[in-house]
């Protein structure tokens, strides 16, 4: 069973002083392994307009973009002060750095390799690393690369869905719990004139 929530009580998972809870083996394998997604934070990345278009590489097009430092931010989408069920403070801050190595594939799929750092409001640094994938839609590669039939305008930006699986590293005891989890993110990339302007993610951890 898979459930998505931001209110589930998962404190037992975080008690690292206790032995790892033994899970009895199922007598037979006739159901999916249990999993849950716990909402932890969201972030918006403002993309710099000055980007490096390498051009055509085998299988697609390579573009490198960077985040606008300190104009990109992390926040709790419901503006709550704690993460539901965990009893830990919500994550809020600025992205102090971030780089996205974009690969637009000829088969209308976009892949990204991202490194970024969140500087939280209480002074901690959280290092985030992930790859993401997004489908560009039918003939999306050609439409994007040709510049004809541009995606989005200033008045009506286009949005593409994208998914990712971030992992976290930090020195901060406040946020050390993040390192115990695999994250997943569901996002939207906002396009104006077929240029990436903003990327927004909701990040969950698998519990």
């Amino acid at each position: 069973m898979t459930r998505m929530t931001h209110l589930v009580d998962t404190r037992h998972i975080l008690d690292m002083t206790q032995p790892h809870p033994a899970i009895p083996p199922a007598p037979r394998r006739d159901q999916l392994l249990d999993a849950a997604l716990l909402y932890v934070f969201s972030y918006d990345v403002e993309a710099q307009l000055d980007r490096a278009h390498l051009g055509f590489v085998p299988g697609g097009v390579r573009i490198n973009i960077e985040a606008v430092p300190n104009r990109s931010c992390a926040y709790h989408v419901l503006r709550e002060r704690t993460i539901g069920g965990l009893g830990v403070g919500a994550i809020s801050g600025k992205l102090s750095s971030g780089g996205d190595r974009i690969f637009m594939r000829e088969d209308d799929v976009e892949m990204s390799e991202v490194h970024m750092t969140i500087h939280t409001d209480d002074g901690a640094e959280i290092d985030v690393e992930y790859e993401s994938v997004s489908w560009l839609g039918p003939d999306g590669f050609r439409r994007f690369v040709s510049g004809r039939g541009k995606y989005g305008s200033d008045l009506r930006p286009s949005e593409w869905p994208l998914t990712t699986a971030p992992r976290f590293r930090t020195q901060s005891p406040t946020y050390a719990w993040l390192m115990n989890y695999q994250g997943v993110g569901f996002g939207r990339v906002q396009l104006v004139n077929s240029e990436v302007r903003r990327i927004t993610y909701d990040v969950y951890v698998l519990t």
């Binding site: 490096a52 051009g55 390579r62 750095s97 690369v145 510049g147 020195q171």
Partner: protein
């Protein structure tokens, strides 16, 4: 079979280090290349007949050197508790060409800088944390691959277009394995953070027995 190497170009870059802190395996630091002061140069260009081994039927054999600047560059460094600095970087180089627009080349690398210097690794790590390595210059070794645009499509917008001649000039960068030997200069202060990288990039080539 023996290995030989040829000097291709040198990157000299001031870097800004941002310590992210202690993580379970060591210490994370982000290095950002300073694009205003970073230089990429093949001067003096290594002369010789070393284009002769490149396929004659292509135009990809000429090496006229790589001179330019760094558009952007980051190195996600981890200093491990065994006094090994693992480097993991990507740098976008703007190569000067005859075209009005520079030719962009991505350089992807990973490598090692040894902090232990033959001493006790754990003690050296603690010394590094205490900032006792300030002013030192350490040897770095990197394995490098490159990515660059090849050709174009008539229907593509101009940002994605790159002249075929530029690819031909730099094509050998994607067709061989490269290494860099160089130095990491450590600054004063806590964690003796890296403040400059000086890397000389070499192309690896194998020489069959009997050849010179």
């Amino acid at each position: 079979m023996t290995l030989s190497s040829r000097r291709m170009f040198t990157i000299d870059a001031a870097v800004t280090a941002r310590p992210l802190g202690e993580i379970p395996s060591g210490f994370r630091i982000d290095l950002q290349y300073n694009k205003e002061t970073s230089r990429v140069s093949s001067r003096p260009l290594e002369e010789g007949a070393w284009d002769d081994d490149w396929p004659q039927h292509t135009r990809e054999r000429m090496w006229k050197g790589l001179n330019g600047s760094v558009v952007s560059g980051n190195d996600w460094v981890t200093v491990y508790t065994n006094a090994v600095i693992r480097m993991n970087g990507r740098v976008t180089i703007a190569a000067r060409t005859q075209a009005r627009r520079p030719f962009l080349i991505d350089m992807l690398y990973s490598g090692v800088t040894d902090l232990a210097q033959g001493g006790d690794a754990k003690a050296q790590y603690e010394r590094w944390r205490a900032g006792e390595f300030g002013g030192m210059t350490l040897s770095s070794t990197l394995a490098i691959t490159f990515e660059l645009a090849h050709g174009t499509e008539s229907w593509a917008r101009k940002e994605e277009q790159s002249p075929e001649a530029d690819y031909a000039r730099f094509a050998r960068l994607v067709r061989a394995q490269y290494v860099a030997l160089g130095t990491a200069q450590l600054g004063e202060g806590p964690y003796s953070l890296i403040n400059r990288l000086h890397l000389t990039v070499h192309e690896l080539a194998s020489i069959a027995q009997g050849e010179t």
